[in-house]
Amino acid sequence: MTVAAGVKTISVKDLTSKILNHEKLFILDVRNTDQFDDWKIEGKNVEIINEPYFELLEGVDSIKDKLPKDQDILVVCAKGGSSEFVGEQILEAGFTNVYSIEGGMKAWSEHLEPIKIGTLKNGGSIYQFVRIGKGCLSYLVESNGQGAMIDTNRMLEPYESFIKEHNLKLTHVLDTHLHADHISGGRQLAEKHGAKYFLPPKDADEVKYEYNQITDGDVYDVGDTTIRAVYSPGHTIGSTSFVIDDQYLLTGDILFIDSIGRPDLAGKAGDWVNDLRETLYKRYKQLADDLLVLPAHFMTSIEMNNDGSVSEKLGTLYKQNHGLNIENEEEFRRTVTENLPPQPNSYQEIRETNMGKIIPEEEKQREMETGPNRCAVR
């Protein structure tokens, strides 16, 4: 990328490292205010302000007082063009350390950061791929040279480099449910690596491709460890959780750290409330308290551990997560069916893409995924 003299660039990878290291950052977001209010970069020590680039075409005098003099200024826009433009204006106003975030929010939305969660009993590890910009979490289990992927995102490159680097043979690719907030890369990844692709059949009524059915109680062997399927409907009717190595519980979009899944994204909030209640208040209760819950999403950086990973013991969540502590069934029904946050952008089109009904071009897929995930209710 060529850069006009002065404005430096920072990659989303470096930005992610800084955020995960809890560095103090100042970001100026120059997208329009609706987009900023909808979705923005967050972090424990991130200070972020918004002023649309089209208010700054003649210079940054109007916001000069809000910009720090003793700190780097990071500018972000939708794709990286306007941030560079505004960066130049900031330099002209006499500031020195000005960075444009390369690729803008588009790149931010697509960056995946692998973080090791822990080891497996018979050797091997489980990794969480944190899609920090969108709050999506996917998982790679590796044991004795074999690998399994769960809830794969659309961008396959980070997974493939990882698989290559660790010299793994991918055997299983699983989706906990038919996703509505992001496009699954699972089927494509499975095809490329000769692995089997699995989906819960109850979510797959309308899918247009061949897949392997996940049934409650199924056990998949991956190297020297196992993945056990636990049917856990409620976010979707097929939603299935996975217990890995008897240590980790992958909850998909059913249970998050500080919230629970919403039952309405397939248009059936009313029908699925009881399933969600049953899963959270009965089925999960029969599981061991010391399972480490690994969800498919996080909503805010508050849910992140110090190393940037997102996890918590099931027993702790039963004490602390509000959604697991609503005694009254009617109140629970109201909580998960009324006053829900807006649905994720393009969620219908995303579902149809995941069913194989439509195959949008890559650029269109990117655009569909823009914005926060919004799969939870608090």
């Binding site: 329009n32 205010t33 609706d34 987009q35 649309p52 680039y53 089209f54 208010e55 075409l57 826009c77 939708a78 794709k79 063009g81 306007s82 433009f85 505004v86 655009e367």
Partner: protein, 192 residues
């Protein structure tokens, strides 16, 4: 796809942000108040940004037509006379009065004197579109005996139009105030 008549067409195709707005801003400076520009862009983000920019600067965002990869945005340069509230044509009606007449299926003509692009994105069903600037050349398209209700955005352009019509032998001319800016009745748009 029909083409909307505008005063200026700006080609910003292939340009990424911020250039579509930088160019639009420049083009706007060269236009006269009340004139309409069509901005052709391929950057999908330009739609939300042009709209937000127009709101912030006081220009009127009329709408966007998507033609394959190309987004055609229509904007009207803000004009001071829109702020004028005093009108001279003696016969006036409120939006509600006009709406009642339309609902009563009375035999009336609604004449919309806004620019073609303004009309295209939002107008009263069956309204006739003759922009104020073309009215004098197109009197013959109208019936002098008809009951004509003239609308624009705020009641200002329609006031000029109503006066001109009255001076040229049209007998039953009513200016509708405020017009489309406050219209809550049914409308038609090119985008449906």
């Amino acid at each position: 796809m029909e083409t909307l008549k505008t005063d200026f067409v700006l080609d910003a195709k292939g340009l990424a942000c911020p250039m579509p707005i930088v160019k639009t801003k420049k083009a706007m400076n060269d236009l006269e108040a009340g004139q309409v520009v069509e901005v052709q862009a391929t950057d999908k983000g330009s739609k939300a940004d042009i709209k937000a920019w127009a709101e912030s600067t006081g220009h009127q965002y009329l709408g966007t037509i998507e033609e394959g990869e190309v987004l055609k945005h229509y904007l009207r340069k803000s004009s001071n006379d829109e702020a004028k509230t005093e009108t001279k044509h003696p016969v006036v009606a409120t939006n509600e009065e006009l709406e009642k007449k339309l609902q009563g299926n009375e035999s009336i003509v609604v004449l919309d004197v806004r620019e073609e692009a303004e009309y295209a994105f939002n107008h009263i069903p069956n309204a006739i579109c003759i922009p104020l600037g073309q009215l004098e050349d197109r009197f013959t398209e109208l019936d002098q005996e008809a009951e004509i209700f003239v609308v624009c955005r705020t009641g200002s352009r329609s006031d000029f139009a109503a006066q001109k019509l009255a001076q040229n032998g049209f007998k039953k001319v009513t200016n509708v105030i405020p017009g489309m800016s406050g219209w809550t009745g049914s409308t038609t748009t090119i985008n449906n």
